[in-house]
């Protein structure tokens, strides 16, 4: 069992969720509540990681973050180390390829709120913040929870993008999915089996917890 790979995967998944949670709430809310020109294009662009092969996305991210790119050069001039093949680079890639998993369920969650409920909140004198905090977030909660769980589980299991952008540096970019692949390559099927089972268990627990919580909140709301 490669504990450092598991820890790294959990750390990557945790940070990805932490970054995408506020971003997803903001974007999901905006996409659900407002109509604007080019909205369909924005939505299409954000859904792209769903259909693009991970290696293709990984390739573009590698090129975009590499030492020859403005982003890579800017990062290197500030932190004195390259962005690619580092944990930070991996995190950036992880945030990007998880955008649809985070934003779409949240957007659906906000869209499920009847527009009159927002109107009623305004007529009650609620500020925008209070409406978001007291009305919209609790009502969109199932969508937000789904987004968190999907993002977390998807990050744990992502392989192609991680390999392209992060390589396989132990303790820095070697996630548990990569470690499993390495073990299989080394004919250590027992080690790969244990790690796969651990990954399976964590994902199942996360998704199970989400379903359980959603079901309970539905029961509470509908008496």
């Amino acid at each position: 069992m490669d504990w450092s790979a598991l820890t790294l995967s959990l750390k990557l998944a945790g940070w990805t969720v932490l970054i995408l949670l506020p971003l997803g709430i903001w974007a999901g809310h905006a996409l659900a509540a407002y109509q604007f020109r080019g909205k369909a294009w924005v939505e299409a662009l954000m859904a792209l990681p769903l259909v693009l092969p991970p290696t293709v996305l990984g390739y573009y991210l590698l090129v975009a973050m590499g030492g020859a790119s403005p982003v890579g050069q800017f990062y290197e001039s500030i932190f004195g180390k390259p962005l690619v093949f580092s944990f930070e680079g991996l995190l950036l890639a992880s945030v990007i390829f998880n955008i649809p998993f985070a934003i779409q369920p949240m957007q659906r969650g906000f869209e499920a709120i009847a527009p009159e409920v927002r109107d009623a909140a305004a007529c009650c004198g609620l500020s925008r913040w209070r409406t978001l905090w007291r009305i919209e977030l609790p009502l969109a909660w199932p969508g937000i929870l789904s987004a968190v769980v999907l993002t977390f589980a998807h990050t744990l299991g992502e392989f192609g993008v991680v390999l392209m952008v992060g390589g396989s540096i132990p303790g820095e970019t070697k996630t548990v999915a990569i470690a499993i692949y390495d073990r299989v390559q080394a004919f250590d099927t027992a080690g790969a089996g244990v790690m796969s089972a651990v990954l399976l268990l964590i994902s199942l627990l996360a998704i199970g917890a989400a379903y359980f919580t959603n079901a309970r909140s539905r029961i509470r709301r509908h008496g």
């Binding site: 009847a114 009159e116 109107d119 305004a122 004198g125 609620l126 209070r130 009305i135 709301r221």
Partner: protein, 376 residues
């Protein structure tokens, strides 16, 4: 500055509007019109949920909207109480917390007591802890009313508040609203497409069609004395005919018109000169059926007769269609209690006598440009 609310809205699209209305404190104004006539749009504009192309909205001397001066006060600062058609309660909050959300401008310590008081006022004491899904339709409506009243709004807006409940509940809620409104100090604007509801609850009626306010006034007057043929049709008056003015008999306070060879005496309406073509209308309640067994003095008033061409039982009443002066001309419509129809042996084909009560005949300018079916 005048108290109450004054509204003038105009826009070409997306929903055309040309509406002017006002409502004094403590009065109920019913905004009636068919579906799609712009009733809800007017209400949303008053609440600031929709910005009209141009116009003004003043409430208790405060300007909420003035397109020329660029004033457009945010909804949350307008102090409106809005009861939405499907109530729009916050589904995850209890009745108590639904109401408390409308009390954020009060000190925290006061909010709960005030919310409980308002809920008790709409007879929901004991149900404060329930979420909307655990309340009946009528109870949900009361929570919505309580939430709207809790803020002590400057105007109470009710958007078809009775449409989502069953008939028995609706009758009870009518009585409750009628009771409640005696204590309300603010203007109340009630949107409805149900004229009986408007007649029962409102002090004033405003008829809206395609975003235009057509007539404004006492509900009974609007419904029996419409300004135009269009209003007559919108308020469901079916007996609309054309006639010529013969003259006025001011001594007897009567105007004489000629209709299909009958000289009809109608309430004095000197605005129409002798010789003018007019459209006249009579509400069904002003058509009297002659009893076959016992003729009465009332029968001398504008008597007409003809065969019943349709006799349609509608529960306790029977809707009659009577051909006067030939079957090819627009018939008269009237409704009589079922027992009256039975006792007089009324059936299809039977010849009956009717009196058109002079006081109920109302004259309007002859205007058939807007009428789909030409009155004759």
């Amino acid at each position: 500055m005048a108290e109450g609310i004054r509204v003038r809205l105009r826009q070409r699209g997306p929903i055309p509007l040309d509406a002017t209305l006002e409502c004094a404190p403590g009065k109920v104004l019913a905004l009636v019109g068919p579906s799609g006539s712009g009733k809800t749009t007017v209400l949303r504009a008053i609440a600031g949920l929709l910005r009209a192309g141009e116009g003004e909205i003043h409430s208790n001397g405060e300007c909420w909207f003035d397109s020329r001066r660029g004033v457009d006060v945010e909804t949350r600062r307008r102090r409106v109480g809005y009861v939405f058609q499907n109530y729009a309660l916050f589904p995850h909050l209890s009745a108590l917390h639904n109401v408390m959300e409308a009390l954020l401008d009060r000190p925290v310590a006061e909010r709960e007591q005030r919310a409980r008081d308002v809920l008790a006022r709409v007879r929901l004491a004991g149900l404060e802890g329930r979420v909307p899904a655990a309340l009946s339709g009528g109870q949900q409506q009361r929570v919505a009313v309580a939430r709207a009243l809790a803020r002590e709004p400057q105007v109470l807006l009710l958007d078809e508040p009775f449409s989502a409940v069953d008939r028995a509940t609706r009758q009870r809620l009518y009585r409750e609203l009628a009771e409640l409104r005696r204590d309300l100090a603010m203007p109340v604007i009630l949107v409805t497409h149900d004229l009986d509801e408007a007649l029962m609850l409102a002090d004033q009626l405003c008829v809206l069609h395609q975003g235009r306010t057509l007539q404004f006034g006492d509900p009974y007057a609007v419904m029996t004395r419409p300004d135009t043929v269009e209003v007559a049709q919108l308020v469901g008056l079916r007996n609309v005919f054309r006639a010529g003015v013969v003259g006025h008999d001011e001594a007897r306070a009567l105007t004489i018109i000629e209709w299909r060879g009958h000289r009809l005496e109608v309430r004095l309406q000197v605005a129409f000169a002798p010789g003018a073509q007019v459209t006249w209308v009579i509400p069904q309640g002003h058509i009297m059926l002659h009893r076959r067994d016992r003729p009465s003095r009332g029968e001398r008033e504008n008597p007409v007769s003809g065969p019943v061409i349709e006799c349609l039982p509608l529960g306790e009443n029977v809707a009659l269609t009577v051909a006067v002066n030939g079957p090819d001309r627009p018939p008269l419509f009237l409704t009589v209690p079922a027992h009256v129809a039975r006792r007089n042996g009324i059936a299809t084909g039977v010849e009956i006598g009717l009196s058109l009560l002079a006081d109920g005949i109302h004259l309007m300018p002859s205007d058939d440009t807007r009428t789909p079916a030409k009155p004759r």
